[in-house]
Symmetry: C2
Subunit: 609 residues, 2 copies
């Protein structure tokens, strides 16, 4: 057979060799690209999106658990749930709401509705010390210590219902935390009015001292206040207001085309506090924040706005329309002129890009792009802020600031990019907190999980990495670089920081009150028999004396409805009435040792004679 | 240059061509194997170990949540947490412990300690209808409906403390459920004794009617009872007993070298019930199960045994030594002779392989291998049952039944393979529920997550696939094929199965009791104003009329500590005293619509005159 029917390159063995070599290389590359696109993509993005067994995550996520009342700690990129921190809920495992201290903090309430969780700041980025979270259900704010990841303090916000948007001061550090009341009520809510009074209801923007967890003051406004934000200069706080109508029914609340972004002037607030320009209501300094007072301005933005977020460069506040397909971009450097009356509040708006249906919250990549959640479209839309500003100044037929869209599954509420609420936004990951998961997971009955989706935003196009089901109802989150938190996190408690710490086992009787001080060392409690009399008020104080990291003990009194966990060097206390006579085994509920089952003691409640 | 320094195969272009071609093929294969070993391995095992976004899992996992008091539903192989089912705990999101029905079921208790969860059976495999779970803290048993994945019934086990091992009847179907009491107490636990009475304490093996959730009878035994199992013929139930000493302190409990596997004879129990051979204690039929009664036999097995599990072929019960490095294999077909007195109980033991330190629980692959968790060694050890039996009959120097060992991280308690508690054990996946995670996850403070590790057992060697952190404290689980559960699971409730279902909104007053019937349809409740008087007892009955799958509503009364979720077509009811006057906004806590925030109504509690 003549070989001259072959292409020229194959007419000699030398040609065949080079062709084969080239073909082989092409084949290897093609096989790699076709079979393993994710690998190639990941290399292109230089972003680690997988966490293998034994590897650690790159980010902590602090997620508000919605009406589960808790905070959750996740890892990114694995999206694994690393911890639940009970806050406003009752937690059988840790004994939250069961121990004396936690019970006192909760004050008899057993439900909460956490919405927004934000960390403490220094110079515009996280300092790794605390996070704060609101309870919309009962208008409370909690502070969580990040060194031990436990709730540290809970306070009630007076004159507020639906305490909702919360934000700590970002600069120079977190001295104040602000929180909005979403539901307007009579300021004196005494049940003496009627349903016709709605137009007289007020809202409050509350300032809390971040260190003492006391109320600094409240700013009284005529409208409801929704999401909150603070700027990067320590000058302003922000609140959206979706009910400028002052309505009480849904149709009333939807009447107007524009509602407000309310901006609070911190210098003016400090001056008012100094001058005494406030009234005192139930012991709280109440400052008038109505239009014209210089305390707040009301920027009209389209319709029933929801989220407000500040760009990491500190230049813009972005508020979204909810029932308008737009976001509004407010230039923060124009606010001073608006407060000074040199320009109108509306003149602070520098862009209103059309981005899609049901825009709720916006997050940022630190590269000039904004990512807004679209509830109705079930999308994350990526748009360029500068382009939106340019198009607002110089509108262009068919011009759009939108860069990319990603379908999510489904009905996204909040969305957050890594470090996006700091000046160090790094544009790597984004979490889309989707309220409805429908068909994305095995059917677990009529009440289904939410879907927390992780998205790679490091490239030009957004890329969905994984679906993570979540119990009701993750509301918002922050994604914090590991190096900002981990150095602060302890392996064990500081034992003697707690004056109750038990070093010596004892039973002490004082009238009909019995105090039992007990140590726990795997696999034994410090005493194996404790006797009290029926009707005694009994306090157990238990200290875990095991210093080995992760060696936690439980303390459960059978049939007495008491259980809690004690982490290494931790002390917990519980007080109850020993009203049922009998032998009740107290046992360790937290697997601690090969002889964990044998770690128990007898609690004898002697029957009344 | 002479080309004759080259190997012979490269001395012509033809040779070079074929060498290059071979090299290329080798290169492609090598690149694939080296870069993507998991892919190659997975293909080898034919086992899907990854779940991509949008894909569904192959198995449901029902996991007891330990002293969190809940049950969890996970997916395998993703290990994602698909749902929490509140059982013995208070749950702020779903309103478990808040609504009237759940509150009544919990009876004022707020903590629980779930240990063992098992499904309902038909002919030795799951029928997908129910799971049962124990509460060790307060000696209760709960039944969970799998069609809606909610707790259906909770009962208290009388005369029991530390209600621990639980198992449903496997054949011909689940008519009975057995549960063991781990803590021995005086049968009449009235607080009239003292600490010296320990030797008189008793334990009970309780039989529950699976359909009515009533106590059938209790078998009184002189020892404590730990884990439970039932056979595959409906003839026997099993309990380990680690305290044959009858001790009350840890040193007493460790005195003897052998404790017991107790076997209960169901035919004998049925005969005793029929003959009336029982005493009635507090209304419960109490059958004497002491040695010699024919009700139970006591097989001596090494030391402080913990788990007992039945091989999927129904032939063997395997109990592990906990503080002995052995497992004991009991031939179930010898039990009849032991009960008949033809052989000694100890003669039922057919193997006692040495497997490692701290053996706790055993699971099976359906191919004749057992996998035992080793708490002290932090390993799963795979061993062959037949080989263990052969070596017991014909001991061989250096002989071992052990086939493979896998290090886990760390301190494993329960372990379970897919479908391993049924005759359909499929030997694909194994979960190792590790109590201590130490360094495997980002540090989240002194109280760390457990580590649920997923292992591929489809091949000869076990292979660790992933680490999944878990909140305190997953105790045990079953891994159930998707096709056995999913067809039973509903998208919505059967609305009118609940006689309270609201079709018409109304407010009805009866003295000082007010009943409010309310519908919820996104984004509005059926009424926007509800007025009561201070001091009224108020019942809200709320029905979710949205039939769209996954469209759940919340119902939260601000400042009244009330919240619950209502899934599609579900009805929930809550009763409370309206003791605080004022306007209290009731709002939807479960994100349902673009106007979810506007879904609220005013609840006016008129002040007393």
């Amino acid at each position: 057979m003549s070989r001259y029917w072959l292409p020229k390159g194959l007419r000699s063995w030398r040609g065949i060799f080079f062709t084969a070599l080239t073909a082989s290389i092409v084949a290897v590359v093609t096989v790699s690209i076709v079979s393993f696109p994710s690998l190639v993509e990941a290399k292109k993005n230089k972003l680690r999106t997988e966490v293998k067994p034994g590897e650690l995550d790159d980010y902590y996520v602090f997620e508000s658990g919605g009406h589960s009342g808790e905070i959750r700690v996740l890892g990114v990129p694995s999206m694994r749930l690393l911890k639940r921190i009970p806050v406003f809920n009752i937690d059988s495992a840790s004994g939250w709401g069961i121990t004396d201290k936690s019970k006192a903090m909760l004050g008899g309430l057993m439900v909460g509705d956490t919405h927004h969780v934000h960390g403490s700041y220094k110079d515009g980025t996280y300092d790794g010390k605390y996070v704060w979270v609101n309870d919309k259900a009962n208008s409370r704010v909690a502070r969580i210590r990040l060194d031990v990841m436990e709730t540290d303090s809970i306070i009630k916000i007076p004159h507020a219902q639906g305490a909702h948007g919360i934000f700590p001061q970002r600069y120079p550090q977190t001295d104040w935390v602000v929180i909005n009341s979403e539901f307007r009520t009579p300021l004196e809510n005494n049940g003496k009015g009627n349903f016709e009074d709605a137009s007289t209801y007020e809202g409050v923007h509350t300032i809390i001292d971040a260190h003492t967890m006391k109320i600094v003051c409240q700013i009284q406004v005529p409208c409801n206040l929704d999401l909150a934000a603070t700027d990067y200069q320590g000058k302003y706080s922000f609140a959206t207001s979706y009910n400028s109508e002052g309505g009480a029914t849904i149709s009333q609340m939807l009447a107007k085309d524009r509602d407000w972004l309310v901006v609070f002037n911190w210098d003016a607030i400090k001056a008012a506090l100094k001058k005494g320009s406030y009234k005192v209501v139930d012991g709280v300094k109440m400052i008038d924040g109505h239009a014209g007072t210089g305390i707040a301005i009301y920027i009209p933005i389209p319709k029933n706005p929801h989220g407000v977020n500040i760009s990491p460069d500190g230049k813009y506040a972005v508020a979204s329309g909810k029932v308008s397909p737009t976001a509004s971009v407010i230039a923060i450097d124009k606010l001073a002129d608006a407060f000074a009356g040199k320009i109108q509040p509306k003149d602070c708006i520098v862009a209103e890009p059309q981005i899609g249906l049901g825009p709720l919250h916006t997050t940022f990549d630190g590269r000039g792009n904004a990512y807004t959640s679209l509830f109705i479209d079930s999308q994350i839309v990526k748009w360029n802020i500068q382009k939106a500003i340019d198009l607002y100044q110089h509108p262009k037929e068919g011009g759009t600031a939108v860069v990319d869209r990603l379908d999510i599954h489904y009905q996204v509420g909040h969305t957050m990019a890594s470090m996006a609420e700091t000046k160090d936004a790094d544009g790597k990951f984004l979490i889309s907190l989707n309220k409805i998961s429908k068909d994305r997971f095995l059917n677990v009955g009529p009440f289904k999980p939410d879907n927390d989706q992780l998205v790679d935003i490091s490239g030009k196009k957004m890329k969905l990495i994984l679906d993570e089901p979540a119990y009701a109802e993750p509301h918002d989150c922050i994604i914090v670089r590991r190096d900002l938190v981990e150095p602060h996190v302890k392996q064990r408690f500081d034992m003697d920081a707690n004056p109750d710490a038990v070093h010596k086992n004892s039973i002490e009787r004082n009238g009909n009150h019995v105090t039992v001080r007990l140590t726990a060392n795997a696999p034994v409690y410090g005493m194996q028999d404790v006797e009290v009399n029926q009707g005694d008020e009994v306090t157990f104080i238990v200290t875990n004396q095991d210093e080995i990291p992760d060696l936690s003990h439980g303390f459960c009194i059978s049939d007495y409805g008491i259980n809690f966990v004690i982490a290494p060097f931790q002390t917990k206390k519980v007080t109850f009435t020993a009203d049922k006579p009998g032998i009740y085994w107290i046992y360790c509920t937290n697997f601690c040792h090969a002889l964990h089952l044998e770690m128990r003691l007898r609690f004898l409640v002697k029957a009344k004679a």
